[in-house]
């Protein structure tokens, strides 16, 4: 009986997570276009719904009703699977992110997180590198040269920046002593020097490296060589249309959302924040952690859009140089420096004894 309820709870949580991601994505599409428009002194979408807020929905409906054309030269099975492959890792990554404070129903503690893996961060890294399969397979199976080039670029880019993404997280793991995402959030509660919130953003180099690698990992501007439209038509999704293209589109935005949620959780303290537990009734205070989490996530999302509005696309050799000559050595040096410094603080200098 108890097991059955546990399964049910997990199921409900997964469904809720999916719903959150889909609605957030629709909002993101609108938000991105509005923010870009603001930065370019334009108005942006304002036709669908109040202030155009239903623009994402309108785009989605349009794409669903379009004819899904399958070109004759495609590798059919792989071609059909690739969009789903793009979506699944994007969904999976979000499942380990806690979006709010755990609460109790009866004597059962319910965490606002679909699953708390003890290897949460490793899981995130593993799944995020899975996402590149979708791009590569879509590019290859399209049987067309531009998608293929896009896919090849995606592979090289993912390999180059995956390493930096992982290495940037090592100091955080050393500092917090846990790989579990819920553990990370717990470690960031309280104050640092009784003054600042004890967020991991104090590991500033890690934060910078991670954000940079995350932008590259989600194939966003200025690292969007995978779909560089002035060189590769549409990149890997050139041959996709209708709903299958919508899946790729959705996956890209879900990736942005989950990457932002992860960054907010790992470096900005997740749902930690003032909740005014004593002074306000608990029927109100439960909303604050979720609010803080959403605010922090949106702040990172805003950075994604902001960077896109600002920087031009990198040239391919610049991308590789930044990845291999700057980011990976940079993260390595920072990681070794931090590990040594941390060990010296913890155990004393080796020459001291």
């Amino acid at each position: 009986m108890n097991d059955w309820i546990d399964v049910l709870i997990v199921l409900v949580k997964v469904v809720v997570a999916v719903v959150i991601m889909l609605t957030a994505t629709l909002m993101l599409i609108w938000a991105e276009r509005k923010i870009l428009a603001d930065m370019q002194n334009r108005i942006g979408p304002d036709r669908a719904g109040p202030a155009g807020i239903l623009q994402g929905l309108a785009d989605g409906i349009k794409l669903i009703f379009k004819e899904p054309i399958i070109p004759s030269r495609v590798e059919r099975s792989v071609y059909l699977v690739a969009p789903i492959l793009a979506l699944v890792p994007a969904f999976l990554m979000f499942l380990v992110v806690p979006i709010g404070r755990p609460f109790h129903i009866g004597d059962r503690e319910i965490t606002l997180q679909a699953m708390d893996l003890n290897v949460g961060l490793l899981f995130v890294l593993a799944v995020s590198s899975m996402a590149v399969y979708a791009v590569v397979l879509a590019g290859w199976s399209s049987g067309s040269k531009y998608p293929l080039l896009g896919g090849v670029r995606a592979t090289a880019q993912a390999i180059s920046y995956e390493a930096a993404l992982g290495l940037a997280l090592v100091p955080v793991v050393i500092y917090e002593g846990t790989l579990s995402v819920a553990g990370l959030v717990e470690g960031q509660s309280g104050k640092f020097l009784d003054l600042f919130p004890a967020w991991n953003i104090i590991l500033l180099p890690s934060f910078g490296f991670f954000l940079l690698a995350a932008v590259a990992e989600t194939n966003r501007a200025p690292f969007d060589l995978v779909e560089a439209e002035n060189e590769l038509v549409g990149g890997f999704h050139t041959e996709y249309s209708g709903f299958r293209f919508a899946l790729f589109f959705l996956a890209e935005y879900i990736n942005i959302f989950t990457m932002s949620a992860l960054t907010a959780t790992i470096f900005l303290g997740g749902w930690n924040g003032p909740t005014w537990d004593g002074s306000l009734p608990s029927s109100i205070t439960w909303i604050f952690p979720i609010l803080w989490f959403s605010l922090k996530t949106f702040a990172i999302v805003f950075v994604f859009f902001w960077v896109r509005a600002t920087l031009p696309r990198l040239r391919y050799d610049q991308l590789m140089e930044l990845g291999w000559k700057r980011l990976i050595p940079g993260t390595l040096i920072w990681m070794i420096f931090f590990a040594v410094a941390f060990a010296v603080r913890q155990f004393g200098a080796p020459w001291a004894s």
Partner: protein, 212 residues
Amino acid sequence: MGLVGIFAKGLAVTFRQMFRPRVTTSYPQEKRVKPQRFHGRHVLNRHADGMEKCIGCELCAGVCPARCIYVRGADNPVDEPVSPGERYGFIYEINMLRCIFCGLCVEACPTEAITMTQLFEMSVTDRHQALYTKDELLVGEDGTPNHPQPDGPLIDLNELTIADGWMRATSPAGRAAYEGIPGWTSSAGVGLRPAERGQSPAPAEDEPEEAD
């Protein structure tokens, strides 16, 4: 650190732009004020007494760089003349898909029969509809212009009466030789027009020729 500085500078620029006023407008709801000499679609004008101004000389067709005007002149019927003079524009067609709205036809016209207006909303669902004939081009007997599409949120038919800026810019103004001659178009009204910048002001003595 130079690179980070450059990044920060660029990000600051885009962030500042967010609070600047927008340069675009939501077009059908708010239309921009057009320049006075805007080149919109053409109209064929009439004299104040209802006679057509076009004399079928085909100068507009000759000067048209896009070759979009087709004119054929015919002799005026003796008992019921269409235009003052010998001939009138029997066929007058402008292919609006080919027209580049340069205004050379307006400049070439000796009688100021063809002028441009401010209306540019001329979308059609069929290519044949873009071929404007005298039905669409000629203004009515009372001077009201004609448009294939009705007045609506996009199409403001008043714009058809607003401006013939090009004609005003290139025609002589304030010259004594024109005294007493009715004004040419609906927007210019009747009588003499004040000189615009770049036009010759009224010479003191009564001399029709340009002093050059």
